[in-house]
């Protein structure tokens, strides 16, 4: 790759990492969210408290975990609590500022599906399911969602609503009595979408460098709202890329060694 060049996945991870404010308590899903959360911790947000649903509070992994229950997480954590405790005292108790989720499908109100593709009782593809996503989406102060954008993932109607964003839009989330604010940013490999303050419909607000509005619209399964004034996401810096690539290389080396 030529110097300064980067992949769309790297752009997505870097853009997601930048959303994490230093010092926030962050409930992290595995996969893309975990990479972005650790990139943030290793760059601008060293005091971020990473919480994984296995009960590890303040985890500081040197390599990305293979699962939410990795030994690496508990060895580096400030505290390790049981599963009933992490969900009841910490998440439901309202102690977690930010949740970070991936998904298989998302709709225009940032509701997500990680359960099935097709009919629930006769699925085309059976996905792993909620895990802790349903409650992370409900009870964190706010939520970030990251996934690759294409019209199989960005759908008009979810096959299954696993975790709630803004449900039917407007004030429907508040009416259900969920305490968290809901998803505040959806970070994809093409750009950044944020909910409209009133209708809560996801609106394209930032394009990653080199991406056109037409591309993003074509990758979205509903008529996508586009902000009148679009930002362009700053390209990953050399420092961000170097930390992310080091992290990925360290991870690959460590996991290959676990043979």
């Amino acid at each position: 790759m030529p110097e300064g060049a980067y992949t769309s996945d790297e752009m997505m991870t870097v853009a997601a990492a930048r959303m994490i404010r230093n010092g926030v308590t962050l409930f992290v899903g595995i996969g893309l969210p975990s990479a972005a959360a650790n990139l943030a911790r290793l760059t601008h947000a060293p005091d971020t408290v990473l919480i994984y649903e296995s009960g590890t509070i303040g985890a500081k992994p040197t390599v990305l975990p293979l699962s939410i229950g990795d030994g690496e997480l508990s060895e580096t954590a400030d505290a390790v609590v049981s599963i009933p405790e992490i969900f009841s005292y910490w998440l439901q108790g309202g102690r977690i500022g930010l949740g970070f989720l991936g998904a298989a499908q998302i709709d225009k109100y940032a509701n997500i599906n990680s359960t099935v593709i097709g009919d629930y009782n006769k699925p085309k593809v059976r996905l792993p399911g909620s895990g802790g996503a349903q409650e992370i989406a409900g009870f964190c102060g706010e939520v970030l969602i990251t996934l690759r954008q294409n019209n199989r993932a960005f759908v008009k109607k979810l096959d299954f609503l696993t975790s709630g964003g803004y449900f039917e839009g407007g004030d429907s989330r508040e009416k259900l009595g969920l305490p968290g604010k809901g998803p505040t940013n959806v970070i994809t490999d093409l750009g950044i979408l944020t909910p409209d303050p009133e209708t809560k419909e996801l609106t394209l607000t930032s394009l990653h460098p080199g991406i056109t509005v037409e591309q993003v619209v074509a990758a979205t399964g509903w008529p996508l709202k586009v902000a009148p004034k679009l930002d362009v996401t700053a390209a990953p810096t050399a420092a961000e890329l170097s930390v992310l690539r080091d992290l990925n290389e360290r991870t690959a080396r460590a996991h290959a060694g676990q043979a």
Binding site: I30, E53, S54, G55, T56, P65, L66, S67, I68, G69, D70, G71, L73, S74, E75, V80, S82, I83, P84, F87, S88, L91, Q92, T115, Y120, N121, K122, P123, K124, V125, R126, L127, P128, G129, S130, G131, G132, A133, Q134, E135, G138, F139, F160, L161, T162, S163, G164, F167, S172, R173, L176, G177, L178, H255, A256, Q258, A259
Partner: protein, 235 residues
Amino acid sequence: MTPDLIYDQLIGAGCVKKLVFSWGGNPGVGSLHRLRDAVENGWPQPIEIEEHAHAGMAAAYSAGASNLPFGMLRGYVGTDLVKYNQRIKFIDCPFTGAKLAAIPAHRPDVTVVHAQKADRKGNVLMWGVVGVQKEAVLAAKRAIVTVEEIVDDLHSPPNSVVLPSWVLSAVCEVKGGAFPSYAQGYYQRDNAFYKAWDFIARDRATFQTWIDRHVLGTKDFAEYKRSLEGATSHA
């Protein structure tokens, strides 16, 4: 909560009628293909699933351990799990009127967990990511614990997670018993096996050959491990 490769093996071998779970994947790798084949195609037999989210499972185990009829939590509102799982219901708080989710207590006939150490009396010490194991043991009619080693003295500090021998039915020393997962302080996850499992379990015939040779064709855990080590590849 999170059925792993051993559940995938049980499902593929036709030993499972019903699965109660909240996340069913091969962690860090992808799908549990035997689970998928059972749900998507009914092979080798149809499987009934009762699906929750993690907090609901945790509440149901806690309720079981506490001898309560149901576990209670906030959440599940507005989600589709409620439409498909009739065991998730909503109740009104008698004091505030708040709408709360209720899940019947989990009361397993038998719980099997793996821990690090037991002493000679059969008291068990575990540490690290303890998950929901204590609740699952105390919710069950009978509990079996396998441990990495049996020692003279647990040297357990106060507040350690200790399962006293009098709540357990059996304690067995099974070195490496968490395989292919890890036992904190003893060994790491065998990640190569998790990756190999994706290949083995993807295809019915490959799976069948594997389970015939390594599981049905061996007499105990030690022989099973030796059988896997002897294979040129995990398949």
